[in-house]
């Protein structure tokens, strides 16, 4: 078996060198391809894959090779896959994981092997472990909920909030972030409840919300959960101002929620509603290849691949430390601009960009503010 692998590797190597002087940048992608969060993993892979294909089609000096590993949202598998990608496949950087706890479990590994990790996980503690090698390519839970709460209070005029979150690291991070953001404004949620992840009937929680007199509902967890909440609230005849974080920014949220999510206000890093021609072209191209609108995760991983490509282009070295240093050097706008705008990372490795505040009207997203 090992001989066979070695032989095929040699043959492959010969083929590649015969094709020209193109050098290969290997990037690892780890995320849920199966299991409950497979749909999220789909955004992760397709985003990275789309940029890799573009770079390869352009036929520049470097060729991108993605090595994708499934973790089925199981953190033990995430860690195993990460070790494989780093020590066996010898990737220059790892994208992932999508589930916050699993991204967190990866941090000791990427730190030990000094490999840059780019994750869209939003859990606060991911970048709080003192590792120089972890970069969050999304806006974290604190940043998101602060913007959402402020917008809901100031622009939507809401003051009576209910918060329902799925009982996992993601939901708890977001819900507590939102609660803190309200507390900073001297308010507190009227209902603050968690639901077990596998549950699908929320009549009980909704009844409680009805009794509390809340007028706005922030749900956080998987988008399937938020869509279900919306549908069941509508069935009970409740009309609430729905609020959502980037977890709901997938086009699937609208598709599943139907007219129950009409009027919902979301924050998202990328929106297909932006009329900018460059972004429109990106949306159209993605839609043509994968048959649906791109979401924030797609754009984040698309940009991350290009960021790694740029790091190699600028230094001329395919090297982990170089990629890390390039990402860490993005302190002020203007160095690297992707589909999401100018990229910057703060000292802990958190990216920050402005989020769109969008509202769902007639099944489409309409930008309210950025």
């Amino acid at each position: 078996m090992r001989v066979l692998l070695a032989a095929s590797a040699v043959a492959f190597g010969l083929g590649a060198s015969a094709a020209g002087a193109q050098q290969v940048i290997k990037i690892g992608v780890v995320g849920p391809m199966t299991g409950a969060f497979a749909a999220v993993g789909q955004s992760e892979i397709t985003g990275a894959e789309m940029r890799a294909k573009e770079i390869n089609a352009a036929g520049g000096k470097y060729k991108i090779e993605l090595v994708t590993e499934d973790d089925a949202s199981n953190c033990d598998q995430t860690v195993n896959a990460t070790v494989k990608l780093i020590t066996k496949d010898n990737v220059v950087a790892v994208l992932g994981a999508m589930n916050s706890p699993c991204a967190l479990a990866m941090v000791p590994i990427t730190r030990r092997y000094k490999t840059p990790q780019f994750t869209a996980g939003v859990g606060t503690s991911i970048t709080k472990q003192g590792s120089d090698y972890v970069f969050r390519i999304a806006v974290g839970s604190i940043g998101q909920t602060r913007e959402l709460a402020a917008f809901a209070i100031d622009k939507l005029g809401q003051s009576k909030f209910a918060v329902i979150y799925s009982d996992d690291e993601y939901g708890a991070s977001m819900a507590n972030g939102f609660k803190d953001a309200l507390a900073a404004r001297g308010m507190q949620p009227l209902v603050f409840d968690s639901v077990p992840r596998a549950d699908q009937d929320f009549t009980g929680q909704l009844t409680k919300i009805k009794a509390s007199g809340a007028t706005a509902l922030f749900t956080t967890g998987a988008f399937t959960f938020s869509a279900l909440m919306a549908k069941q609230a509508k069935q009970l005849g409740m009309s609430l101002q729905l609020l959502g974080d980037t977890g709901n920014a997938s086009p699937k949220y609208i598709e599943l929620g139907g007219d129950a999510v009409e009027g919902a206000v979301l924050v998202e890093p990328y929106t297909p509603a932006d009329p900018d021609p460059k972004l429109q072209a990106f949306t159209a191209k993605y839609k043509q290849q994968y048959g649906r609108d791109p979401d924030g995760w797609v754009a984040e991983h698309y940009d991350a691949v290009e960021m790694i490509h740029q790091a190699v282009l600028k230094s001329g070295k395919i090297d982990r430390q170089t990629v890390r240093d390039f990402a860490a050097s993005l302190k002020a706008p203007g160095t690297f601009r992707g589909i999401l705008g100018d990229w910057t990372f703060d000292a802990t490795g958190d990216a920050s960009f402005n989020l769109y505040k969008v509202q769902i009207k007639g099944g489409q997203k309409v930008i309210l503010a950025r």
Binding site: M33, P101, V195
Partner: protein, 622 residues
């Protein structure tokens, strides 16, 4: 709370309860006809939801017609699965645990296939009925809810009539009560079993069409209801009417709990209620049916023992093992060491489970809970109290043992009831990990767990962990080996084979069972502690029901009642998915398929291969 809100909650509870009842009926029927817990029942729900969706969007037939067609289609799938996979295993009179693992393999493979066919993302059903609610007695009722209630109750009524008033139904009941006598009267057992699988699959598929418009069609839809459906069956004593009522009651109770009490504790309440019901109403009785491990080969005698007899041979074996170990340590790459270390940690826990399931014949579906207790105990001891690693690991084992002792009263139950009770216990422990935020940090988990250190020297390398973990494994193995060969170990096997006979020869069965359970829990605790310090981050998610199921799989694949088998099984089950990584989407299809094939053609587990090879070798030498 006003009466109207209460009514609304009850109505909603009845709707979801209807689904629990239908899926639970599938469990109950299979259990009564074949004594099997069919894990693939959830996948019948999934198939139903997708086939229903396809029919609705392509043919435009009315909902009720689709409902009937799906029930028929999924029923046929049930018959097909019974013919091709389950019947051969049943005919061989393999231990029931093997059948259970085969259905687990089926469930994994079907889910993976569904992803390939229908995709990973959930799909919404087209709108079936007007969203405008109908007002009934001042309650807002959706037309869809009425349809679900109507169709669900209709199916239940039809089944009730079938079992009470048709010849086939009556003979089915006769066979389920007393198969031998029924056979004397000419009841065809095989036909009955086929009929059972057809009906179970059909009601499962029907439930799928009912819930998918509410909750979307997705490959994981079955997963979310099976535990509750199982509970519905247990509440109703796995009778037909009982399960129906049990499901409806469960739906109402949990919806009311979420509406009135905090939903944080909703499931704790549900599972605690289940435990209480089991403990109060299911008095232990003399075992009449087949035991879960019956038919498994026993390693009580030294005939098939590798280490006994010839001293030179034993020395050779130990030397060979040591050489292999050293070669692996020196030659394996980091990734191979990493996944092997994870597998060996699992093996430590599995040895403990082997003692409980393989030797004592007690079904445990909650082993991961003790694994988790050990992980949290060691983490908190080292991080909050500064206890050194070398002390924290045995203390974690002791804590898990204590937890085992606390839940030991469930061992009064036997067979499937014990399985369900341990399942509920495992869920409660996991929920406590989530909800005792002051201690466990809740859903966030605990990160930055220190690496093992020995008097200031910190262990970091994969090689170092390999030495540590295999050392602990060897220690646990030798201890258990001694234990299982002692008078105590033989008494465990006696309890497993025939509890009454064992008791009549003076073995205190209850005490032996509890001791085995506590020792098994301690092993899991030690394994959990090593896991925590190895992976450096723990959260309640790592200690779920699925982790417990995986450990049971390891025991069965390795071979019931064989300690070396436990280790080999853990290695095989943990490493297989890693080795199959290259297959991408087909990985889990192949993994599930392999589980099924194993159970069909190697019922004694991997230990059997070893035994056969050894006997062969012994014969050649002689």
């Amino acid at each position: 709370m006003d009466i109207q809100t209460l009514g609304q909650l009850v109505l909603s509870g009845l709707t979801i309860g209807c689904v629990y009842s239908l899926v639970g009926l599938g469990f109950a029927l299979t259990l009564r006809a074949t004594e099997l817990i069919n894990f693939a029942q959830g996948e019948m729900v999934m198939l139903g939801s997708f086939i229903g969706l396809t029919l609705l969007t392509t043919t435009g037939l009315p909902y009720a017609a689709v409902f009937v067609l799906v029930a028929i289609a999924v029923g046929l799938v049930g018959v097909l699965l019974e013919r091709t996979i389950l019947r051969p295993i049943l005919d061989r009179r393999a231990p029931l645990l093997n059948l259970l693992i085969a259905t687990l393999g089926l469930s994994i493979a079907l889910q993976a296939l569904a992803i390939i066919v229908w995709g990973r993302e959930p799909v919404a059903y087209p709108r079936l009925f007007s969203d405008e609610p109908v007002m009934v007695l001042g309650l807002r009722v959706q037309a869809l809810n009425l349809w679900i209630l109507g169709l669900g109750l209709g199916v239940m009524a039809a089944l009730h009539w079938f079992f009470q008033h048709t010849m086939t139904g009556v003979s089915w009941r006769a066979a389920s009560l007393d198969p031998a006598t029924a056979a004397l009267f000419g009841v065809n057992r095989r036909r009955n079993v086929a009929l059972t699988f057809a009906i179970s699959a059909a009601v499962g598929g029907a439930a799928g069409v009912l819930i998918a418009p509410l909750f979307f069609a997705s490959f994981g839809i079955g997963h979310s209801v099976i535990v509750k459906a199982f509970a519905a069956g247990a509440i109703g004593g796995f009778g037909i009417v009982g399960t129906m009522l049990g499901g409806l009651a469960l739906g109402v109770i949990e919806t009311l709990a979420a509406g009135i009490v905090s939903s944080d504790y909703k499931n704790v309440i549900t599972y605690s209620a289940l435990l209480v019901i089991l403990m109060v109403f299911y008095r232990p009785t003399a075992r009449a049916g087949r035991s879960i491990t019956e038919g498994a080969k026993v390693v009580a005698s030294d005939v098939v023992d590798l280490m006994s007899g010839d001293r030179r041979r034993a020395a050779l074996l130990v030397a060979g093992g040591a050489a292999l170990w050293l070669a692996f340590l020196l030659l394996a790459d980091t990734y191979a060491l990493r996944i092997t270390n994870m597998a060996l940690i699992a093996a430590i826990a599995v040895l403990g489970l082997q003692l409980v399931v393989g030797y004592t014949g007690q079904f445990s579906f909650g082993h991961a809970a003790f694994y988790g207790v050990g992980a949290y105990a060691s983490t908190l001891l080292t991080m909050k109290l500064g206890v050194p690693f070398v002390l924290a690991v045995p203390l974690a084992g002791a804590t898990a043992a204590l937890a085992g002792l606390l839940v030991a009263p469930v061992l009064r139950l036997s067979g499937h009831f014990l399985a369900i009770a341990t399942l509920a216990m495992g869920e409660i422990v996991q929920l406590l990990m989530l909800n005792w935020k002051w201690l466990t940090n809740g859903a966030y988990g605990i990160y930055g767990i220190p690496l093992p250190s020995f008097a200031g020297w910190e262990l970091e390398s994969e090689e170092g962990f390999f030495v540590l973990i295999s050392g602990v494994l060897a220690l646990v193995y030798l201890l258990l080996r001694r234990l299982t060969r002692s008078r105590f170990g033989r008494s465990l096997v006696a309890v497993r084979e025939n509890e009454l006979a064992a008791m009549s020869s003076g073995i205190r069965a209850d005490r032996q069972k509890i001791t085995a359970f506590v020792v098994g829990s301690a092993c899991a605790g030690v394994a959990g502690a090593l896991y925590a310090h190895y992976i450096a981050y723990i959260s309640p998610e790592s200690f779920s029901f699925l982790a417990s199921v995986q450990m049971v799989t390891m025991v069965v694949i390795g071979g019931l009642g064989s300690l070396p088998g436990g280790i080999v099984g853990a290695l095989a089950v943990a490493l297989l998915p890693e080795m199959l990584r290259a297959l991408a989407d087909y990985r889990l299809v192949v993994y599930g398929g392999l589980l099924i094939l194993f159970m069909m053609f190697l019922p004694g587990g991997l230990a059997d291969i070893g035994r056969r090879a050894w006997r062969l070798a012994a014969r050649v030498r002689a």
